[in-house]
């Protein structure tokens, strides 16, 4: 079969980094082609060039044997190339039909469009109500909006950028069914991911990128996940390990925690119960937007709750603010590195002071002790292998992985009684992620209770003793992590969110 799209020698350089260096591959009609690589390997830049969002510095693309140089996404869409974005390109305050109309060249009148949305969504087993506000939809449903927006334009090539990172295992199955159906109809699919098992289950061919270069092309079904990982990372990764210790006393006891979200599109926490013992790691899974941010806010003290809803070593702390809780040993590292966990334009030393001032005694009579603060920041940089020219540099200048190591290290070094982390390895390269997980396990083995909120199930299974899942603001009862099957986890996460395949209709 002749190739639908061929890419030859594509190169794109940004100041200081070559995002893509002489990348070539081809994709045939009906083929599911994987682009595999770590964060920062250049996958996103590559597909942005194919979709016309970024112009290549050098190289050629051919679509159905004619030169293809999309100057803007509109031109790409006109040529039959559609894309489902990693961070959804949706508008919360608009309804489903309006969102879909915005992504189309010549949308029909709204009423007609609503009917077509219903038709297409049922034909592909993706039920969707065109009149609902997108802000009220679950992550899986929002992705459907994007997919249907693409399907309505009858694409020849569908680009999917990390589509499963926000889905429950059951939702992933539904998505794969849809993609297989599309491929069988002759649509080529370019599937970007770093999840190896998914690629092995779905894709016919894989192009593996590392640091902007193609390092291998293979049939993923003939390789093991370990082999693919090695090609992707370039070295062998050792999974984190820990000495198992008998759990100690209950340190943190959360009971009947209910809280309304400060954000109008947020999730209300409903009667959350859990206990964590000293030396234990509690993993909290769940699809994004099911109350993770709210739970972190309630635990950190950014949102106040009933005094007895959160008890730290027997004392009521629900009414206390973040600093009072820090003094008692309850520390948090939120998800958003730039802007929440760290102040982007302040130096590492200043960022170290921001959370460490109380427990590390970095201020005296209202004046900062700069020497001690610099010493503390240097200790973090050394202990956690943060790559930076010096602690005087702004947090913004660090790469995601290095800043994340700094943010986690800053809390770990304060010897917390309880440490809460949200998405500790989101957008971090594999070796930094492994280092962070190891640090969390080391911390637990010294007797700290660790709560890890994450959407990465593999990560949670790797480090957790107990596992619980958030679903629409409710927390499932924690269960021992060892021996949980993927089906059980999926059900704890709320199954397919009532999004069963519509074939039954």
């Amino acid at each position: 079969m002749t190739a639908l799209l061929t890419v030859e020698g594509l190169t794109k350089a940004y100041p200081g980094v070559v995002a893509n260096d002489d990348v070539s591959f081809a994709i045939a009609p009906g083929e599911v082609h994987a682009l595999l690589g770590e964060n920062g390997a250049g996958k996103s830049t590559l597909v942005k060039m194919i979709y016309g969002l970024v112009r290549p510095d050098a190289g050629r693309m051919r679509l159905r044997d004619t030169p293809y140089t999309p100057s803007e996404p509109r031109a790409a869409r006109a040529s039959g190339v559609a894309m489902v974005f990693q961070h959804f390109s949706l508008f919360d305050a608009l309804d489903v039909a309006e969102n879909i109309a915005l992504g189309m060249e010549n949308p029909p009148p709204q009423r007609q469009l609503a009917r077509r949305i219903r038709e297409v969504s049922e034909a592909y087993g993706l039920p969707l109500d065109p009149d609902r506000l997108v802000g009220e939809l679950s992550a899986g449903e929002r992705q459907r909006v994007e997919i249907i927006r693409c399907l309505l334009q009858d694409p020849k090539l569908l680009i999917m950028d990390e589509p499963t990172s926000v889905l429950t295992p059951q939702e992933v199955q539904i998505l794969f069914e849809t993609l297989r159906k599309l491929a069988a109809e002759g649509t080529a699919i370019l599937y970007i991911s770093h999840k190896l098992e998914e690629i092995r289950a779905l894709c016919d061919n894989a192009t593996i990128l590392r640091l902007g270069k193609v390092v291998a092309t293979c049939d993923p079904r003939e390789k093991s996940a370990a082999e693919l990982a090695e090609m992707m990372v370039g070295t062998k990764l050792t999974p984190p390990e820990r000495e198992s210790a008998a759990p100690g006393e209950v340190v943190l006891d959360v009971s009947g925690l209910s809280m309304k979200s400060a954000n109008p599109f947020g999730t209300t926490l409903k009667n959350v119960h859990f206990r964590v013992r000293a030396g234990e790691v509690l993993g909290i899974g769940g699809v994004a937007g099911n109350g993770q941010d709210e739970l972190l806010a309630a635990l950190s003290g950014e949102s106040r709750v009933e005094p007895d809803a959160i008890r730290l070593k027997g004392a009521d702390v629900g009414q206390l603010g973040p600093n009072a809780r820090r003094r008692l040993g309850l520390l948090c590292a939120p998800e958003e590195r730039l802007g929440h966990a760290a102040a982007p334009d302040m130096s590492l030393t200043e960022n170290a002071i921001l959370t460490g001032v109380i427990r590390e005694d970095l201020a005296a009579r209202g004046f900062l002790r700069w020497g001690a603060a610099q010493g503390f920041a240097r200790r973090i940089v050394e202990r956690f292998d943060v790559r930076t020219p010096g602690v005087g540099h702004a947090a913004r200048s660090l790469s995601g992985g290095n800043l994340q190591k700094f943010v986690i290290g800053r809390e770990v070094l304060q010897r917390p009684e309880v440490l809460v982390v949200n998405q500790p390895t989101w957008g971090v390269d594999a070796s930094a992620a492994a280092a962070i997980r190891q640090a969390l396990l080391d911390l637990a083995s010294t007797g700290t209770a660790v709560i890890c909120i994450s959407q990465d199930l593999d990560e949670l299974m790797e480090i957790s003793d107990q596992f619980a899942a958030l679903n629409e603001g409710r927390l499932s009862a924690p269960r021992p992590a060892r021996g949980l099957s993927i089906e059980e986890i999926g059900l704890m996460m709320g199954g397919a969110h009532d999004m069963e395949v519509a074939d039954a209709v």
Partner: protein, 310 residues
């Protein structure tokens, strides 16, 4: 004190005249904010429009040309804001405040030599038949054409935002400029067009003050109407029909204040002059008390700079 001296018919009729400048400026600012831009320079654009319109009308003898000049003058000043904030990515709040101060200074420079002159009168349109209706005819159908034009403009903006594709794109840009950019919409171009429209409307509103409402030229004669227009957009929770309601409400308070003074109410004049502003603050506090609802209606990208780098 003699409340019977206040004629309700005249009160309502003059309320519409008093409200028209803030209505025009507010409906323009509504479009700007729906596109995700916070332009605090409304006051400066209004006063610039006021002098452009006044000077042109006096020189040419045609109020219509005056209004056109105000339209152009407001738009020209807003273009400065648009280029600074959208192209050079300057801070919108600081630039908007600077625009107000600049507009006040510029207008006072341009207005030298125009103090104490009367502008040519703007024609009233008595809508046939309707104008002869008892009571209602006097209140609603005997105004100058700008009043009717402002009402048509509100209806037009409402329909544009609600029913047209261009309106949908504009709302989308204000909701999430990153997503709109990813879909291939020209965020900067759309925002500059919205800013121009907002500036032109503010200019018209200013000219209405200097050509019809007062009608003469004095320095700083808009006296805070631009700020009230900004407040009304929030008060209206970014909905066009409520802008109309808000503008007439505040216009009503302003007129009532004058009438109460005329009726000899024994309250110091200063308190009465403060009333519209106090009520503005009060209404804003009440509106934003229910935080989640107000936040739901606000364009999510309001006031955020956009740069197509990522």
């Amino acid at each position: 004190m003699d409340l019977s001296a206040i004629n309700p018919l005249v009160l309502v009729a003059s309320l519409m005249v008093a409200a028209t400048p803030i209505l025009l400026a507010a409906i323009g600012e509504l479009v700007v904010e729906k596109a995700g831009v916070l332009n605090l320079g409304v006051e400066g654009m209004m006063i610039t429009g006021a002098i452009c319109g006044f000077a042109t009308a006096v020189e040419t003898g045609s109020p219509l040309l005056g209004f056109l000049a105000a339209f152009a003058g407001g738009a020209a000043l807003s273009l400065v804001f648009g280029v600074l904030t959208q192209v050079f990515l300057s801070n919108q709040v600081a630039t908007g405040l600077a625009l107000t101060l600049f507009g006040l200074g510029l207008s006072s420079l341009m207005g030298q030599g125009y103090t104490g002159i009367k502008p040519p009168p703007t024609a009233r349109i008595e809508i046939p038949v309707l104008a002869d209706l008892p009571v209602v005819g006097r209140i609603l159908f005997q105004h100058d054409w700008v009043v009717y034009a402002s009402l048509l403009l509100v209806a037009g903006v409402w329909a544009f935002l609600r029913y047209t594709r261009a309106g949908l794109v504009l709302r989308a840009v204000g909701e999430s400029h990153d997503a709109a950019h990813a879909l291939g919409y020209k965020v900067v171009r759309i925002r500059i067009l919205a800013i121009l429209f907002g500036g032109a409307c503010a200019g018209l509103g200013g000219a209405y003050i200097s050509l019809v409402r007062v009608p003469q030229w004095t320095d700083g004669m808009t006296s805070g109407a631009g700020w009230i227009a900004l407040a009304i957009v929030v008060f209206a929770s970014w909905k066009a029909p409520r802008v109309l309601l808000g503008a007439y409400l505040f216009g009503g308070v302003a007129v009532l204040q004058l009438n109460l003074q005329a009726a000899g109410i024994a309250i110091p004049v200063e308190y009465l002059s403060m009333a519209p502003y106090l009520i503005t603050i009060l209404v804003l506090v009440i509106m934003s008390a229910d935080r989640s609802r107000a936040a739901l209606n606000a364009p999510a990208s309001l006031g955020r700079s956009f740069h197509a780098s990522s």
